[in-house]
Amino acid sequence: MLGILLINKDKDMSSFDVIRKLRKKGLNSKKFKTGYLGTLDPMAKGVLPILIGKATKLADLFQADRKKYIGRILIGKKTDTYDVTGNVLEEVNEFKMPSSAKIKEILSTFRGRIMQTPPAVSAKKINGKRAYEIFRKGDQVELNPVEVNIKSINLIEVFDKEFVIEVECSKGTYIRSIANDFGEKLGIPATLSGLTRSAVGDFILDNCITLDKINDVKDIKDNLLDINTLLHLPKLCYREPKRIANGIFIKNREGFEDGSLIKVISEENKILAIYKTYEGTLKPEVVLV
């Protein structure tokens, strides 16, 4: 098995729970490596692409730098995790809900390349240790701000004490941090109360299935997306798959641009490997057969 399964993750389960459940449904974890693209917090739902088999080797190619989220921000509370699952550090009950115009004005300050401090409860590493491990031990977590790129951030809807935003951003962006930072900028604490990932690159929610639609391995196979149609790279047809499996070098007869990635396919249009161009020679980058 080789391909991508697009899962619409439910709330209240970790990203790894999804893989655990797929294994229970018959996905052989010894035979096929399995991984996912971009962790979704347990409280978040939405697009979670699962890479199966040798597709796991292609994670970097699919790790799109374009992710889309729908976030719900609650005003009046500050928590240690920056979302409603955490311990409340500060609570304000009497406040005037900011106007749409005010919310939009603050949101606009997040647009573009900005520095963002990841939450203390995050999988970021500090001296080789996960930040959340240090935090749970009760030690002080000091994370440095990281540059992230927020392509767009828009207000969708405003409620009593909450509002909904849509964010398009680079990988590594924490929507939880946006919620917390929003509170700081507003002067009233805020935290994330809901999160849905609506897209990871070309993978959108419309094309995802929920775990309850998968009963057995056949359902996994039926819903698996073909790597070949998903990888938008120039292709080279090679007649002898065995030699590709051996990792041979190929002469760059087609004149592919230096440094470019090429997908090598069989005569039956099956993907065999990803090669990289080094001047006159194509060398294997990832072999899939």
Binding site: D202, I204, L225, D226, H232
Partner: protein, 330 residues
């Protein structure tokens, strides 16, 4: 034929529908069109073709040299088939990410097809996830899946025709297309050197198109312009003797006609037969001699075809086995 560039602007009560890219409109596609027209006449409902304007693979993989027929050429061929409505939206990001279910919903909402015809290897929706079975699951027995047409045992597909064209097998490509392979373009101004070589030419530059062209060299061709038609020879590729190496240039010399006021005129050129490969000459006069020889050779072959033509009107498979002429290819 009504041409719509957007599906949002149409709402049909019923129709017979064919879906596909139909690049080349080859004999397999023509079979689909025939079935479509037959059904639409029988039930007295409009015949509709849904095809993208630009080829999805060109959009997604940004490949060059792919079209057997460029979008406008494809429209022309659909017109000739006698289709009532052609829906040709641009393939864009939203179509690329569209789930098969959403595509089916659009078809139901806007076209309400009573009959759907697709080829067996038809795929649609994100990651080509939808296939004829997906259509059958949604439209039941309204779906008619056409097996790939075979010619001498080979399954006819646009991919095979592209390979044939790339390898220079014009004759076989034309057989599978059911017509001669052609190029349409507006005439551009050239280097005006042909005049001095006793062979004035009309020139095309296909650089800006994704049209596939057969290998560089000289071809016997048939030229259509102003509702007239004459034979000629075409050079595909650069002009190596003149140190020009644009590989997507076409220069055509039309036989026995004076070339006048041709600039910006829409011309169609059918490529009939490969004559010789591109050669770089040291001297322009050698090139001049070679061109005269090419013209004489081409005329000889055309005369033989004309004799054949009186017996059969089947132009595209004019047999050249019995021609006593040594070719560099074939």
């Amino acid at each position: 034929m009504k041409i719509l560039r957007d599906i949002e602007n149409i709402e049909l009560k019923s129709c017979a529908l064919a879906i596909g890219n139909f690049d080349g409109v080859h004999i397999g596609h023509q079979k689909i069109m025939n079935d479509l027209l037959k059904y639409s006449k029988q039930k007295d409902i409009p015949s509709v073709v849904f095809s993208f304007y630009n080829h999805p693979l060109i959009y997604i993989n940004k490949i060059k040299d792919y079209y057997i027929t460029c979008p406008e050429e494809k429209i022309q061929l659909f017109k000739e088939q006698g289709i009532d409505i052609l829906i040709m939206p641009d393939f864009n990001e939203s179509f690329m990410k569209m789930s098969p279910e959403n595509f089916i919903k659009i078809l139901k909402d806007h076209l309400n097809p009573q009959h759907i015809i697709v080829g067996k290897n038809f795929n649609f929706g994100f990651a080509r996830k939808g296939n004829p079975q997906t259509l059958i699951d949604n439209f039941d027995d309204k779906v008619n899946v056409i097996e790939q047409v075979r010619y001498e045992g080979i399954k006819i597909s646009s991919t095979i025709i592209r390979e044939l064209l790339k390898s220079g097998d014009i004759k076989k490509a034309s057989t599978l297309l059911g017509r001669n392979f052609f190029i349409t373009s507006k005439v551009r101004s050239g280097k005006k050197i042909g005049r001095d070589l006793n062979a004035p030419t009309i020139n095309f530059n296909m650089d800006q198109t994704s049209k596939i062209l057969p290998p560089a060299g000289v071809y016997i061709s048939k030229v259509f312009y102003d509702s007239r038609c004459s034979y000629g020879i075409s050079n595909i590729g650069g002009a190596p003797t003149l140190d020009s190496f644009d590989d997507k240039c076409i220069e055509t010399h039309i036989f026995d006609k004076e070339i006048k006021n041709m600039y910006n005129k829409q011309v169609k050129i059918e490529l009939l037969k490969f004559l010789r490969e591109e050669i770089k000459f040291d001297d322009l006069s050698l090139l001049k001699d070679k061109i005269s020889e090419d013209i004489a050779n081409a005329k000889k072959i055309i005369n033989l075809w004309r004799k054949d033509e009186t017996n059969s009107n089947n132009h595209y498979h004019s047999s050249d086995d019995d021609i006593n002429y040594k070719c560099t290819r074939d």
